[in-house]
Amino acid sequence: MIGTGISVNSITARRRHPLARVAVVALALGLLGGGYALAAPNGSTADAAIASGKADDVAQGKSLFVAHCASCHGMNAEGTKKAPTLIGVGAAAVNFQVSSGRMPAADAGPQAPRKPRAEWATDEAVDQLSAYVQSLGGGPTVPSAEQVDPAKGDPAKGGELFRANCIQCHNFVGAGGALTYGKYAPPLNPATPTQIYEAMATGPQAMPVFNDSTITPEQKRDMIAYITHVRSQVDPGGSGLGRIGPVTEGLVAWVVGLSLLILASIWITAKKRRAA
């Protein structure tokens, strides 16, 4: 270490310091994290690009599609044995599936579960991908922010539609339910208003399509208003017990209620009169 003023000996000595390992790991983590933060795509610039309607979104989307979707859906989204064609499914379907993490699918199960998004699936990437699939053959588009604004809907009207159309699979508050052959209607609690709208418009997986002539966009917004209102409502009667009805109530009656009372009966009869 000529010219630095630090002798080789002193470095060697510090290398053996008890805290040296900690310092090295901290440094490595800091470099990695900082580097990632710098390299990761920035959302705000992407929004600007979408708003200006750049034509190269479709091109970008195609390259994303080839990289992440084509192995199952085919190089031109024509479909394979493993997965259906995406021509005509529309941007709403892509936005729903990819933004909820269902696509890319992890493995071939009865149903693709909701999961954290793929790393590459930023809002910008999802929009580009949607634009590409939309360009293939049209289909339902992503709803505007106004179309899914719960504040603009009527929850009471939405509730009636919700009970008539949704709860036979999704349960009365959208807690989810079982379907046949390992499929299920997922809980609606993690779904965003946009995703709820898109699910109705596109009918993902086992769900039927509720198009605009069956349920108008205003009615869809009413339903979104009901779903979001009820799921954010504090249960007035105490713990909601999962809001799945009498099954958990019965469980609590036995496991909590009767167990406590049996313990009480044991305790009371264990108290004996002492002989004077």
């Binding site: 009365f172 989810g176 299920y184 109530e249 009966s265």
Partner: protein, 543 residues
């Protein structure tokens, strides 16, 4: 010094002179009650019933049992302006606009769940200890009637708010009524006053729920208690406890205080549940319309086994002379209920028929000492429990990621295989426990003292069991076996000649034969060396 104060003496003399209560109280206040935790289980049901009557009365002040259509204008925003029945609107009114209304509704509903739960555990205690035996068969039948009526009371009660979930139960009730051969359609039209759902059923159920069934329940509960009082409570086997006495504490003051405390416990637990655990949130279900149904529609727990039977049943149906017999509804509605309720009601008499036991019993059996009865009981519980579990198969499937049809097929097989396996396991466990008892009596219990013998051998010193434990074990009573041996000329006794008689004799042999007779002390020579430590001399050393 011992004379009561004038204020008390005056009043009590007044009452005594007119209704002669003094003698009655003198005789009964000192009534002896035996002490065992399991003897309090019935009181869970009794006290829940008291709470049900009180909270139920509160609810009737606001509930309107009508099916006329109204538009909701109450405090719950997501239903504002929705058309619904008067009944549902008034149930919402109680929940959101009456002070303490929701709490009362919840306490009422939790008390209902614990009412049937308390009855169930109480009934199991009576069954497994053989406390239904002579002279208590009639009280046992009253108990079965109470349980059946409680199911009906629950069914009518949860139909009243006319919410979407209760409507699902109502629809199944109507389906069951319709499935009855020949008269089914008439029964349904009679019950609902025309086409389902009609406009009458809620008010009819209301009368039944608040007047008819509670009245019968109250009368039967009184009869149940009076019979128990007159026949005296059974006691667990133990020191000085015989068929002719009752060992315990007097009703006043000891038992009365324990009993009063247990009422407060029951009330406390129900109030806690009513306060902190939401039950039957009718506002989330929405008003009933026959077109709507929710995923996860289940009845309250005590109807769960019927729900399970319905879910497991294959879709069988036969057409006979232009009549459809819907076996897929008729069988699950009647058969499991019939097996459980009729089986329970007949069991005391079947047992008497098989054992020929006409003796009076006031000392309860320990479940292990009648292994076949215990095995039959556990077998029945397994049957019931599997149906009950599978009544929630959609929730199990959704929450534990099981395939729905797999749960159905599992249930269809398990409901037959499970009880058989449970029978065998329980029987073996009972025999094993009896062997342990016999060993404790004959060899004593391990003392933890290791002793070296002069020849170098180490043994653990066994001491005789504590007196109360030994007496508890010795309380085992033989189960009679019917005489079936042939006489000198090879002719079986009169009752055992027919096919049924031979079967009866065989069952009696199996049911009553004591496979692990108790032997006191240390008689068998073969064990002498193995447990040489047991003996008077060793005991002395230990004390």
């Amino acid at each position: 010094m011992n004379a009561p104060p004038k204020a008390i003496a005056g009043v009590s003399t007044f009452v005594d002179d007119r209704i002669g209560a003094g003698n009655f109280l003198k005789r009964n206040l000192r009534k002896i009650f035996p002490d065992h935790w399991s003897f309090l289980l019935g009181e869970i049901a009794l006290y829940s019933f008291v709470i049900l009557l009180l909270t139920g009365t509160f609810l009737t002040f606001w509930f309107k049992p009508g099916m006329g259509e109204v538009t909701y204008t109450g405090n719950y925003a997501p239903l504002y302006g929705v058309k619904m029945s008067e009944a549902y609107a008034s149930a919402l009114h109680i929940s959101f606009d009456v002070r303490g209304g929701l709490l009362m509704r919840q306490i009422h509903h939790w008390a209902a769940l614990l009412f049937v739960g308390g009855m169930t555990v109480h009934m199991l205690r009576i069954f497994f200890t053989g406390a239904y035996r002579k002279p208590r068969e009639l009280n046992w039948i009253i108990g079965i009637l109470l349980l059946s009526l409680a199911l009906l009371e629950g069914l009518t009660g949860y139909s009243l708010p006319d919410d979407l979930l209760s409507g699902a139960g109502l629809r199944i009730t109507q389906g069951v009524a319709q499935s009855i051969p020949i008269v089914g359609t008439y029964v349904s039209f009679f019950l609902f006053g025309g086409e389902y759902p009609g406009h009458d059923v809620i008010s009819r159920f209301y009368s039944i729920h608040i007047l008819l069934i509670p009245g019968i329940l109250l009368a039967l509960v009184s009869a149940h208690m009076i019979l128990m009082w007159v026949q005296k409570h059974t006691q667990m086997p133990g020191k000085n406890r015989t068929e002719k006495n009752v060992v315990g504490a007097p009703f006043y003051p000891a038992f009365m205080i324990k009993s009063g405390a247990f009422f407060l416990f029951t009330f406390g637990v129900i109030a806690l549940l009513g306060t902190f655990a939401q039950i039957n949130p009718i506002w989330l279900f929405g008003p009933y319309t026959p077109a709507d149904i929710s995923a996860g529609s289940q009845p309250d727990w005590y109807m769960g086994f019927l729900e399970g039977a319905l879910r497991l049943m294959p879709s069988w149906e036969i057409n006979f002379l232009d009549h459809t017999v819907t076996l897929s509804v008729l069988i699950p509605a009647l058969v499991p209920l019939g097996i459980v309720m009729t089986g329970l009601a007949l069991y005391p008499f079947l047992e008497q028929w098989i054992t020929g036991d006409r003796r009076e019993h006031h000392v309860a059996d320990r479940p292990r000492n009648n292994p076949h009865r215990t095995a039959i009981g556990i077998s029945g519980m397994t049957f019931y429990g599997l149906l009950w579990l599978l009544g929630a198969n959609d929730e199990l499937s959704a929450n534990f990621h099981l395939d729905l049809y797999t749960t159905t097929w599992f249930g269809r097989i398990a409901v037959f295989v499970g009880p058989a396996i449970a029978y065998w396991i329980t029987y073996r466990m009972c025999i094993g426990l009896q062997r342990k008892d016999a060993e404790v009596l004959s060899h004593g219990v391990e003392s933890g003292v290791i002793k070296r013998l002069p020849n170098g051998q180490y043994i653990e010193v066994h001491t005789p069991p504590a007196e109360d434990i030994a007496e508890h074990i010795r309380g085992k009573k033989e189960i009679p076996v019917l005489e079936s041996a042939e006489d000198g000329e090879g002719i079986p006794p009169k009752g055992a000649r027919s096919a049924i008689g031979r079967l009866r004799a065989k069952m009696s042999q199996a049911y009553g034969t004591d496979r692990v007779p108790l032997t006191d002390g240390h008689h068998e020579e073969a064990h002498e060396e193995e447990h040489a430590g047991v003996g008077a001399g060793d005991r002395k050393e230990l004390h």
